[in-house]
């Protein structure tokens, strides 16, 4: 009888997750590719020209997905890190480490595409505005996480130290999100929120949402591939890795 129950916890072991991730990532990668093509098509050929910003607004189709990814990845990373601290599971730390580089890249992209948008619209590459500054701090948190990770030789101790850093830094994420409300900033407010109807044309909104989902799929696929590398690296002396290689 009990054999029919799916044992979800068995995937918490790095060995089982290694094979599960290997089966899952191609699906996420394929979804990311398809959604990117559709999203780019809408971004350039369906979405109309903006009344105020002309064609320059099209940066929104990479800027918003990259920015929200940088914040979401941080939250997921901190959640894995916290889970690892609480339950002492090995896989949690590996998942957090697998997410950090991708999160850092998205934070970087958010800042650079924002700067490329700010120059023509505000006349400045950079201003020390609440939104921009808190996003810069997010990039530094990611870089701090990665630096701390590589400075501690024992991976289990590195996981613990990084988990504490990730959890302390989580306070920055709501600051980024609400910065445009709390302070009088140059950055525009949210175009899409849960409580109000969106303030943009339907085609623009769809293009943006599809790009957001495409970036999600990309990030999941990348994190799964990277966690496989991390698992192989850390479990290199175990029997199952030796068998898997044969």
């Amino acid at each position: 009888m009990n054999n029919r129950v799916i044992h979800w916890f068995k995937f918490a072991s790095p060995q089982n997750f290694y094979f599960l991730a290997g089966r899952m990532w191609p699906w996420f990668a394929a979804l990311a590719a398809v959604l990117t093509v559709v999203g780019l098509w809408i971004s350039f050929f369906v979405a109309p020209t903006d009344a105020q910003q002309g064609e320059g607004y099209r940066i929104i189709f990479v800027h918003v997905p990259a920015s929200q990814m940088s914040m979401f990845i941080y939250l997921v990373m901190a959640a894995w890190a916290g889970f690892g601290l609480a339950f002492n599971t090995r896989l949690s730390g590996m998942m957090a480490s697998a997410l950090a580089p991708t999160g850092a890249l998205f934070a970087f992209l958010s800042l650079v595409t924002g700067s490329l948008w700010g120059k023509p619209m505000w006349g400045a590459w950079w201003v020390w505005d609440a939104r921009l500054t808190s996003e810069l701090i997010l990039l530094f948190l990611y870089l701090g996480f990665l630096a701390l990770q590589s400075s501690i030789d024992d991976p289990r101790r590195a996981d613990k130290a990084c988990a504490v850093l990730a959890l302390v830094g989580v306070v920055n994420v709501p600051i980024i999100y609400f910065s445009v409300k709390w302070w009088n900033t140059l950055h525009q407010g949210a175009s899409v929120s849960l409580t109000k109807s969106p303030t943009m044309a339907t085609a623009m909104l769809w293009g943006m949402l599809i790009m957001v989902v495409a970036f999600w799929m990309y990030a999941i696929a990348i994190a799964l591939v990277r966690v496989r590398n991390i698992i192989l690296e850390r479990e290199r002396h175990t029997e199952w890795v030796k068998h898997a290689l044969e």
Binding site: F45, E55, R58, I59, F108, T113, N229, L232, L245
Partner: protein
């Protein structure tokens, strides 16, 4: 479709540098990340295989 010609499309209403810069950089970062990960995996597998071979010959 609101573009009248290919050159108009690439000009992006005068925002070509900013728009193509944003999309181009994002694409570049994604491609680099994929290539780096693939390379990392190859390196790890090569190292593990050679470790395994040297263990097999010594025992």
């Amino acid at each position: 479709m609101h573009w009248n010609s290919v050159s108009e499309f690439f000009a992006m209403g005068g925002y070509a540098f900013y728009v193509w810069g944003s999309f181009g950089l994002t694409a570049l970062v994604a491609v680099l990340e994929v290539l780096l990960l693939r390379n990392q995996r190859k390196t790890i597998l090569r190292e593990l295989r050679s470790e395994l071979l040297s263990e097999g010959s010594s025992s």
